[in-house]
């Protein structure tokens, strides 16, 4: 019995509602569908959580409060009081990625964050937004971000291009980190599931490993959302506080 393992098949994008406007393919795909669900779930969580303002929170309210406090804490400790106005942005980003990652873990669903297009779009929004915030706040002074303090002038010739480069590759590292984690995790699950299916009765061993891997992937799903959010905070802190 030979079962062909196609671990990357799960990432194929299918058009659910084909739609072309002026030669541009804007079909409603399964990725768009999952993102819609993610947005609706986040909205539902917050709406349900804040519907009744009880002093002693119920389940929904305490879930909403916990996620709010978690992100608020993160923004406060990393950006400082000036970061308060960016809290909604970071919160939205965190919740969307978290829910999208968790939705990807549901069997037969689709890992939206395993698409480089999605993660790169998110990272590009962060990068462009942070750069605009920095320029608006500090104007020309923003360029001081690329000049390390207390360094001999000779070294600056070397350090400034490095700083500039490391600033410019931020959207790529930010997006590839999330994308590669989800892609590698889901591919690994599929490969082990393929092993389990193809070796008959002995498949119980790869299946056992797969169960542990699912637990690891759930951890990674939460962790990557956290990392994306905290890196956004650090970038914001760079732009607002200039080191």
């Amino acid at each position: 019995m030979a079962i062909e393992i196609r671990p990357l098949e799960q990432f194929t994008i299918e058009r659910l509602i084909p739609l072309h406007i002026g030669g541009v393919d804007v079909s409603y795909t399964n990725a768009a569908f999952l993102m819609t669900i993610a947005v609706m779930l986040v909205t539902a969580l917050i709406m349900l959580g804040t519907r009744r303002h009880a002093l002693i929170p119920g389940r929904w309210q305490s879930l909403a409060e916990m996620s709010y406090e978690f992100v608020a804490d993160m923004v406060d400790s990393n950006v400082g009081p000036a970061g308060r106005q960016f809290f909604p942005f970071v919160f939205t980003l965190f919740m969307f990625i978290l829910i999208a990652n968790f939705l990807g873990m549901v069997p037969y669903s689709f890992a939206v964050t395993g698409q480089i297009v999605v993660t790169f779009a998110l990272a590009a929004v962060v990068f462009i937004g942070v750069t605009i915030v920095g320029i608006v706040r500090h104007g020309f002074h923003f360029l001081r971000l690329f000049v390390p303090q207390g360094v001999p002038a000779v070294l600056l010739i070397l350090l400034v291009p490095i700083e500039l480069l490391s600033y410019c590759i931020r959207p790529f590292t930010l997006s590839i980190r999330l994308f590669a984690n989800i892609l590698a995790g889901h591919t690994m699950l599929a490969i082990f599931a393929g092993f389990a299916a193809s070796i008959g009765l002995f498949g119980i061993f790869p299946l056992g490993i797969n169960i542990l891997l699912v637990a690891l992937e759930v951890l990674v799903a939460a962790l990557q959302a956290y990392v994306f959010a905290i890196l956004t905070c650090l970038y914001l802190s760079d732009a607002i506080n200039l080191h």
Partner: protein
Amino acid sequence: MDLASAKMIGAGLACIALVGAGIGIGNVFSALINSVARNPAAQGQVQPFAFLGFALAEATGLFGLAVAFLILFVF
């Protein structure tokens, strides 16, 4: 050497990146254990950083793994 075997070798070579990730993750958690053993009260403060470091170190290994998958399944 034909293309298929070259692909296999290339994918295997790309997985060497995981060495670095392993060392990095080991370093992160050994430092965490060290610092918590010295000062248990600091656990709450250092743990978030440890997990951030873990995720960053893990991601570098996954870049290599992603390259291996790309070689194997995309090209």
